[in-house]
Amino acid sequence: MSLSFLLLAVAALCALSFYFGRQRAVALSGGRYSNLHSLPAHYGTYVALWCGLPALLLLFVWHTFQGSVIEAMIIADLPAEITSDSGQLSLALNSISLIAAGNGQHLTVSPEVVDAGRRLANLQSIANAALIVVMLCGAVIGVSLSYRKISPELRARNNVERISRWVMIACSAIAILSTVGIVFSLLFEALHFFSKINPLEFLFGLEWSPQTAIRADQVASEGAFGAIPLFVGTLLITVIAMCVAVPVGLFSAIYMGEYASPKFRAVAKPALEILAGVPTVVYGFFAALTVAPFLRNNGAILGLDVSSESALAAGLVMGVMIIPFVSSLSDDVMSQVPKSLRDGSYGLGATKSETIRHVIFPAALPGIVGAVLLAVSRAIGETMIVVMAAGLAANMTVNPLQAVTTVTVQIVTLLVGDQEFDSAKTLSAFALGLVLFLVTLGLNVFALKVVQKYREKYD
């Protein structure tokens, strides 16, 4: 029986227990639900939860341990000459699992291993069957205990709510723990990197060329890991993007929110938000294939030397990408400015633009700043467009017409292809990732604080 089938069966059991739990509560109520402490549906849910949760819990525990327990049993039966050498052991275990899965015909292995393979298959089918039995037992025990407990006095509603609270806690724990896990792995790998490269050199060094010799006899440089050129490149592109996105996004938000007729707004707003749905890789090739050549050709006419991959192209397109982000967020904050403030201003004889400039915009400013900061952190983390349009050369320049590279681009290039996992080159990606993470985290926290402070004022 496959896992999905098993889960379906448990779901069906839950539905049944809900039905019977509810029936029993109805029967006990003697026709008047007010005799019961809780609604009949709560009793049903109570029984259903007691059916499903033990079963799922058992499934989870079983699956966590099944693999290692069975492996230990197999290893215990293997001859000592295999188990004594770890390389040979893992090879043997591989063959065993292949044989168990029925794919081992072409292998030439010792009879012990073939035996072990059969045994493994055997054990696995036993374990699966046992799992079904155990799960069903769990469900049945849960149901019968809880079913028996149903009485008009049972506080089913409170129980159900407590259980569902724990389920929610578990879900949020998963979300938080996985984030924490990712952050820690980032942190450890970065520390690993810093044990090879001085953090000061990394943070303040002016040269970035991460190529290092893989074998000792290769002729290659030591590698330089000064990340300043990357930071400068990232900053340059972000600034260009913001120069596009902030004015355009803000003015379009003002127009949409304050001037546009409802009809126009109904069409134009979704149209603007479509921009946010375009995959970034599409922006990327738009930047690389359309904008960059356009800039180079026009630059040539003006006598400017624009390289075919330029910060300007990437920044412009990234700015376009971020427009809907800025405009919809600032539209939100501006429409939250209470109508009474507008009325107050109009009532004093202010025009629309005076009202916007002197009342709405200042009142919404903290929220708008928050929106812009969120957009900045978005721009810093954006990868696809810069990979395709900004180039890979770690130039230390603030000239937007030249190729630059960003933190995200370097992370991609460091990790693409075959890598030796503990070389400084690979590990530097983690250090860059950590810096990126800290910067965007800081920006987001700050931005949310600002937005929140603004919300408190009007709610």
Partner: protein, 267 residues
Amino acid sequence: MAAVSQSAMTAEPSVASPKMTARDLNLFYSDNQALFDVNLDIVERQVTALIGPSGCGKSTFLRCMNRMNDTIDGVTINGKVTLDGRDIYDKRIDVVQLRARIGMVFQKPNPFPKSIYDNVAYGPRIHGLVNSRDELDEIVMTSLERAGLLKEVKDRLQSPATGLSGGQQQRLCIARAVAVSPEVILMDEPCSALDPIATAKVEELIDELRSNYTIVIVTHSMQQAARVSQRTAFFHLGKLVEVGETDQIFTNPKDDRTKGYITGRFG
């Protein structure tokens, strides 16, 4: 009512030389008619109270008088509203100047999220009423003084207006309206968010402002209408039922609906 001016001697809808008039005013919110043939005169330098049950169109009528309904989508107005004999719905009228002449104070105090000083200075600044900082200071001070707020805030003019109490905020809004030297001040339930003491202060203030301004006030409190107004207009279901001297309306109403409302039988 000590200082009833001579022009208020008639109890008819029409008075001798009204500051503002409404003639056959009909107003529609999309397809719903909210005002039906309203005819009302507002006497200069008097307080006119608009009373009536909730939803009868008092606020709607008030907003017609400085064209605040222009900011609402789907409003159609026909009929005539005049200020000093000129139709304010005339195409040649500049709404901005009109609203500078007819100020408005709202139900909920709505100070801008700026300093106390900047709130009062807002109107004079946008209308270019002053040429120097000193003049502006002067206007701000006299407006605050007139609104009876100066004593309480003169040490904290630069602190945020949102930090004032509700009653202070409302008086600040009155000061803000006064600062552009309007001729008429419209007030929509200005005391409904205030406690009795703050209410008494605002009422006192209204009584003082009467010597310089024409005031129209919407109120749900009979006592307030009786205390502050010289003329009272009773609205019901979008129609103006009765208008006359406040004393007459409260002691000897001609219409049964008015009588029913002021004696508390409906509304």
